[in-house]
Subunit: 424 residues, 2 copies
């Protein structure tokens, strides 16, 4: 068998079993988001390129986005991230909306990267934001949500950790070691690399950026000072709140977390494995969500989590659900062509009672129908031959135990519901 | 306030209220699909253009799809329809899959059309297929699913109707009036236009296609023969099954329904309004799903339903749900900065019991927090001042009745659950 036309590289086919895993993840995300009172929204999947051009994500768009002209000549982008669309949506109704907004979303994004483990060109992302508040309690809430999600999927604080920092704290530390304001961005970039480069190369990079040996030394001291958070009133309050919520174990101060995007202005955080260091989510506090789309300044805090890396991490900890398709479904077989109508009628009767029913669509050999059921994951199969039909009964066959029981049709729906409920 | 960068024309912003309507529609689709034992799957949202090129949908792709070169030079398409992706996915695992397959999907599609009422450039579509069976019972099942869906969203057989025809029947009728086989496609196109053109123009079009006056007359007779279905054994069996299922009222034979796509080979159907004639879904039986992607011939039946037209039809019949955001959520207020920690602790305690809790993120004036609750749709608000905290109590305020009750914190979760349950 030859399949002549392959899928686009870096995309995924969600066959039913993988789809069930994807939906399981979505449901975890949904239930945590709703528990904290966040409302689901969604933006378009395509946007004009100018929406991204003004942002710090420019690099992302120029180098990593799918961009194409539409037939009218406008440049369209398959969205690589959600924040610019969120900013547009908020700005469009800025005066009508009821703040603080708590919004979440789960949808597709595209990045033109070389496909590799943990990177696909089409991915799904959970985005969640609290907008219109500047309080440390808001920052703490988003960090709690990360921890609550990790807990809900079965991870433990010994497996993953939310590393937290405060860019405001880092800025004041930079002033202390006399980094001039115009070098702030460069130094944040340097900090971002501290775990990615060997120390020599990293020092070299610092010197290239124009830092002195003593500034580099000072910076290294900052990056190793585990108690520095005590000088950030924000972080002190956030850690206190997380303590109250019993989430303190999930969280660690880490002065090396600064996040790439320039629009973060306060607390920043990253959820990652303790060992291995794979990062599954990242976010932070921003002061002006809507600046580039023409709205009034608006502060908030949010994070994004990609499905690909999350699935990899969950899989490596053996936490993906055991998917059992059709475990809640019965198969109604067709005994022969003459009995088909009765099987169809009965199937619909069960459906009217809310039972999920596969009705075999042809009067093929019973053995073939049973093999189909077994391979589908269906455990209970209903058989109605001419004798059963005449007596107003049917046989229910348990494929797991290889037993068979006769049931009166009058009791059918409630009896089948009872059997399926035992099952789950 | 100026929003400088608009959305792409023909896309939609799903603010939380509209998103709730979209999710309501999704849930109806999901529950009907599951009731019939179909499994959810999803294909990538981008595909290589050659996947569409070989298909009868070629026109759709050339004229109406977003197509763009990726950075490697391959032509990529934002998928305009699902069938080619489904064919690819089935062909890739053709020998492993367990037939008959029953798969459904709900996802985004793009069409480069002039935006107008009922047409957007980005839309969602329900696709559902039964693959690997050639029986009339399979065709009937998909038609039942349409009817079950219409019923589930509150439509009645006097408002909508599923018009059904059999292309096999039409082909034998064409042979009867001596239309040569090579003109079959043209004549199907002519039939497709019979309701769209005035009779004169339609006859003219028939003559242009090379039909004689007597053939055109014969064709018109066919198109008005409401009893013609009795000559199609397929349709006879299908209508019998629909009768058994009590769905016969939703269905009508209509010889003018032939569907545009050439890959339909048997029964075809369209779900539409009785008056107004807006069409919400269409589908049919095909003989060879996987022909163009290199698989072995495989028959099936399926349909697609777009969300945009469906929403318009539901709205015009007043059937969209009354969306009440936050009706299942309580707001925990912050009495003052000193009480904030207690409110946060209490919020988390309620969440641990599964209650959806908005915790106000700042110690602003209580009046402002109550206004926020009211505008959010929250009915019950929790207030905990220093006195209440000292006594281990809290006040719950019903914003609708303007009443307030004191409750012991020990009974909090169960009491609040009871109150919210009355609400829904």
């Amino acid at each position: 068998m030859k399949v002549t036309i392959p899928a686009v590289k870096g995309t995924r086919d969600f066959y039913p079993e993988l789809m069930q895993v994807r939906k399981w993840l979505y449901q975890k995300i949904q239930s945590i988001s709703e528990l904290y009172g966040y409302q689901e929204y969604e933006a378009p999947f395509i946007e004009r390129i100018d929406l991204y051009a003004a942002k710090s994500g420019e690099e992302l768009v120029k180098e990593q986005a799918f961009v194409f002209p539409d037939r009218g000549g406008d440049l369209i982008t398959l969205r690589p991230e959600l924040t610019p669309s969120l900013a547009r949506m908020v700005a469009q109704k800025q005066t009508e909306l009821n703040y603080p907004l708590r919004w979440w979303s789960y949808g597709p994004f595209w990045r033109y990267e070389r496909p590799q483990k943990g990177r696909t060109r089409e991915l799904f992302q959970w985005n969640i934001d609290l907008i219109g508040s500047n309080s440390p309690a808001s920052d703490a809430e988003l960090i709690s949500i990360c921890a609550a999600f990790f807990e809900a999927v079965g991870l433990t604080p010994s497996q993953v950790c939310i590393r937290v920092n405060d860019r405001g704290l880092m800025e004041s530390e930079m002033r202390r070691i006399e980094v001039p304001p115009e070098q702030k961005r460069d130094v944040f970039r340097l900090i971002d690399r501290v775990n990615k480069l060997p120390e020599d190369a990293w020092r070299q990079y610092g010197i290239q950026l124009g830092l002195s040996q003593s500034q580099i030394g000072g910076l290294l001291d900052i990056l190793h000072d585990k108690m520095l958070w005590q000088q950030s009133p924000n972080l002190v309050e956030i850690f206190e709140i997380l303590e109250i919520e019993n989430y303190r174990d999930w969280v660690e101060f880490d002065p090396r977390i600064v996040r790439g995007l320039d629009y973060y202005t306060g607390v920043v955080f990253e959820g990652m494995e303790r060992t291995g260091g794979r990062s599954v989510l990242g976010g932070g506090h921003y002061d002006n969500l809507v600046a580039d789309v023409g709205g009034e300044p608006l502060a908030g805090v949010g994070f994004a989590m990609g499905d690909v890396m999350t699935m990899i991490v969950l899989e490596s900890h053996n936490l993906l659900p055991n998917v059992r398709p059709n475990s809640d479904t019965v198969l109604v077989t067709i005994f022969d062509k003459n009995c088909q109508r009765e099987s169809i009628r009965f199937s619909n009767q069960l459906r009217a009672a809310g039972i999920r029913v596969l009705c075999y669509p042809e009067a093929v050999k019973l053995q073939k129908q049973l093999r189909f059921a077994d391979k589908s994951g269906v455990r209970y199969v209903i058989i109605m031959g001419p004798e059963e039909i005449a007596k107003g009964q049917f046989a229910i066959k348990d494929l797991e135990l290889s037993t068979q029981t006769m049931i009166d049709k009058i009791a059918a729906a409630s009896e089948i519901k009872r059997i399926l409920a035992q099952e789950s």
